[in-house]
Amino acid sequence: MRPTGRDLALLLLAVLAVLAGANMVAASSRFVTAYETYDRLELSLSRFQYTSPDVPVETEFIVTNPTSQRVTILAIELRLKLGVHDIGGGEARPGTVLERGESLSTPIDLAINDKTYVRRATAPLDWRISGRVQVRLNPAIDPVWVPFVVRYLPE
């Protein structure tokens, strides 16, 4: 039986579907892996040392990579709040590559910009820290900012 023009068109459509479909499935799978990696990163604040309004608050921030993916920690930005009032912050740009199970511990000094507000505040001071970590998983895709939950630190 000789193939007709319609059979040829169907065959070309099948080839196109296989190529484009494989591209989509692979991309979607990598997309899922990327988001699961961002979601599983462990972020914690291991130290918080407040001395006085004139001295920056000393903190230490830890990022742990429990996934099997290699991630690059490009930046860590922290905001310091007293109650709901934003009084300062600090940042670090380590650019460190984390393999599976590795951690990055970064000391970050948080500058207090609104010193008067801190002096007037009544004890116990209601410290809160919020921030975000910029992570790059793959050089082909844009880095992503992973925000983390505000932490309540009673003095």
Binding site: G5, A9, L10, L13, L16, A17, A20, A22, M24, A26
Partner: protein, 134 residues
């Protein structure tokens, strides 16, 4: 019955091809594809799918129905590809479902409009070959 089976196969293949072409050229997934396909290939690709679908099916009415079905199924597949991380990561579920809905609707419009252009191209090809009169 045989032509119905051919129509179903052609629609399924065109759906996957539509979804794959849109996914390979969209900003979310483009950089994650194993084979890079430039943005410029989006519209010619969708026109090609419409042309091949129409040539494979033959009948105009069936081709038109097949085109609509392939556009709906293809854009749904594409939307699922974008929303996929949301099914395993609750934190991005709403954001990605919203994004998938918006881009899926856009993909539906593009698959319909440019697929129709492809159908017209198929009619012209068939007329040139003497199989159909315009």
């Amino acid at each position: 019955m045989r032509s119905l089976a051919r129509l179903v196969v052609a629609v399924l293949l065109a759906s996957v091809a539509n979804a794959g072409i849109v996914a390979s050229t969209t900003t979310d997934l483009r950089d994650l594809t194993p084979v890079y396909v430039g943005d410029l290939w989006l519209l010619p690709g969708l026109i090609l799918v419409g042309t091949l679908l129409s040539l494979a099916v033959g009948d105009i009415a069936r081709s038109a129905l097949g085109l609509v079905a392939a556009a709906i199924l293809g854009s749904t597949l594409f939307g699922l590809a974008i929303a996929a991380p949301g099914f395993s990561v609750p934190g991005v579920r709403v954001t990605l479902l919203d994004r998938a809905t918006n881009f899926g609707l856009l993909a539906l419009l593009m698959c319909l409009l440019f697929g129709l252009a492809g159908m017209v191209l198929a009619w012209i090809i068939e007329a040139a070959l003497g199989r159909r009169q315009l």
